[in-house]
């Protein structure tokens, strides 16, 4: 009886199913099917993964991956890089948002916003190609400028010591404008009467910022934090364009490492890595949703 009622309900609302059908088809064919396939492949032997009768090996690929010191190092490196990139991007974006939002900067606000946001829509490949050359030791403008100023040379992407900083700078250039825009949107919505009240109470600029403005930025901070964490966990393009995982594996992050395994037809292990990363992203997202939900009633 429940089934008949369900079918009846669905038939009466068939127009909505008609609207949703193409969306459902794309989600199923280019989302859920590949994910299911990927999880299935992660339980098969690589050599047979794409054949008609794959050989199932249970959790062997997961065991191999989790026992691989290179993968564990890559995971640790990815988490460290993510932490660094999130802090650097959000701190910079917040500082720039406060600066641009300042009523003292009357002229040029739009120019500053445009300059910082343009890299966000610039194709990442094009941006990183340019940065790769900017960092070049003999060709690039960065070392030439440091030389003019009498400062020591910057190793850029060629040196083990500086490569992380170099790609952090390139990624900051590409992403920070986006986080800044979210901070700016939040700043525009804040209650300015509270700041006037604080001024009447004789609060210093720092006290006003710390106790009146910053708490109101909580929604933007949460969104940016979640978004940036997921973004940098997946760091990929900058590595493909600028460093190819080097020098000395310093930028061999999980997604790049997994991609290399795919390239070597080690499908089972690569998809096992994908599943592990997927689990991490789901756990992080759920945690973040909890955080946002708890804050919602405010």
């Amino acid at each position: 009886m429940a089934l008949a009622a369900t079918i009846d309900l669905a038939w009466r609302n068939r127009v909505f199913y008609l609207f949703a059908a193409p969306f459902a088809a794309l989600t199923a064919v280019f989302g859920l099917w590949p994910i299911a396939l990927s999880i299935q492949v992660s339980f098969t032997a690589s050599g047979t993964a794409l054949s008609a009768a794959p050989a199932y090996v249970g959790f062997a690929n997961y065991a191999t991956v989790l026992a691989d010191p290179l993968f564990l190092a890559s995971m640790a490196r990815t988490l460290l890089y993510t932490a660094l990139a999130v802090v650097a991007n959000l701190a910079f974006a917040l500082a720039m948002a406060m600066l641009i939002d300042s009523p003292r900067l009357k002229a040029g606000t739009m120019f500053f916003r445009l300059a910082l946001f343009l890299p966000v829509v610039t194709p990442d490949v094009a941006g990183y190609v340019v940065w790769r050359w900017l960092f070049d030791r003999s060709f690039g403008a960065i070392n030439a400028a440091l030389g003019e100023l009498g400062l020591p040379e910057f190793g850029g992407i060629a040196s083990v010591d500086t490569v992380t900083t170099a790609i952090l700078i390139a990624e900051l250039w590409h992403h920070a404008g986006f986080y800044m825009t979210i901070f700016l949107a939040n700043l525009a919505m804040r209650d300015r009467a509270l700041e006037e009240a604080a001024a009447i109470d004789g609060a210093s600029a720092w006290q006003t910022w710390r106790h009146v403005i910053l708490p109101q930025l909580r929604p933007a901070i949460v969104v940016n934090l979640v978004y940036a964490t997921i973004q940098f966990l997946k760091t990929f393009t900058v590595v493909v364009v600028m460093t190819k995982g080097g020098p000395a594996d310093r930028t061999n992050f999980v997604s790049y490492y997994a991609y290399q395994l795919f390239d070597q037809a080690r499908y089972g292990e690569a998809t096992a890595m994908a599943s592990i990363l997927f689990a991490c992203v789901i756990a992080l997202s759920l945690g973040a949703f909890r955080l946002v939900d708890r804050e919602a009633p405010r």
Binding site: A10, F30, F111, F112, F117, V121, V125
Partner: protein, 280 residues
């Protein structure tokens, strides 16, 4: 007076930060443009020069053919693939988000939303490889259709529509129902006219995002014949001995359309992207 002086100094200090930072963000573009006109020897001799020695357009002869394919093929592919995936993606996502928002209670709709959320949580570059297998099974490998269909699905587009449909006043739809309008009439006569600005914003943002895509296109393509500009740029970047000038010129061609689109519609893009990220 003292107060005025202090506030003047603060203002000057803020400009002293904002102007150099903005210029530093724009400098890579300037360097890219200069690079098109200067040969390797000139750049090596004076990397910081702010004006090219000569305006020499010969570099475009150098990039007229890349990897055995004419430059105009890449330009055509970029526009064709981006346009097609944008139109398809906006239409499909708008209808899907509308159905899911209007009747979230219908059987299966919760599962559809959940399935879509799972899809966008899967690490994108790792999704692309199993997508290769799916596209292969569908017989679409190396075809425009395979690329366009895959690019048509995107999170920001869905969230923007979702947000918009959720904020639609219920009374508007209920009034339509009372007047005896069919669902199709409600959609096309009432909702669509209201949604025009959102449609424009989503289309613009989807265009910018899809123009930048490279990995799915690289994976689904069978030859450079279906490469777009970013993919061509990437293959040139990896090529040994590709000239600096040629790479800068191709980066310029790849960037120019989005730079123009962005400058023409900056507010729409910035506000739309912020709204899409902060799903309400």
């Amino acid at each position: 007076m003292n107060h005025h002086l202090r506030s003047g100094v603060t203002t000057a200090a803020l400009y002293a930060i904002a102007i150099p930072v903005s210029l530093a963000f724009l400098y890579p573009y300037w360097w890219m443009c200069l690079g098109m006109f200067r040969n390797a020897r000139q750049v090596l001799g004076d990397p910081l020069r702010l004006w090219p020695e000569q305006f020499d357009m010969s570099v475009f002869a150098e990039i007229a053919r890349i990897g055995g394919v004419d430059l105009w093929v890449y330009v055509f592919n970029s526009f064709a693939i981006t346009m097609a995936s944008t139109i398809l993606g906006v239409a499909v996502t708008a209808m899907g988000a509308y159905a899911l928002c209007r009747r979230p209670d219908l059987p299966g709709f919760r599962w559809l939303r959940f399935g879509f959320m799972l899809t966008i949580m899967y690490p994108y570059m790792l999704l692309v490889i199993p997508v290769y297998i799916v596209v292969f099974k569908l017989g679409l490998l190396g075809s425009y259709a395979g690329i366009v269909l895959f690019l048509a699905l995107g999170p920001i587009q869905f969230f923007l529509f979702d947000r918009f449909f959720r904020t639609l006043p219920r009374e508007v739809i209920e009034a339509g129902i009372c007047d005896g309008a069919s669902e199709a009439q409600i959609l096309f006569r009432i909702i669509l006219p209201m949604a025009k600005p959102v449609l424009a914003t989503v289309a613009l943002i989807t265009f910018l995002i899809n123009w930048s895509q490279w990995f799915p296109i690289l994976v689904i393509s069978r030859s450079p014949d279906t490469f777009t500009l970013p993919v061509a740029l990437l293959s040139m970047n990896g090529e040994l001995g590709a000239s600096f000038r040629a790479i800068m010129a191709l980066a310029f061609v790849t960037t120019l359309p989005v730079a123009i689109a962005f400058v023409l519609a900056q507010r729409r893009v910035m506000e739309g992207m912020a709204a899409g990220a902060v799903k309400g």
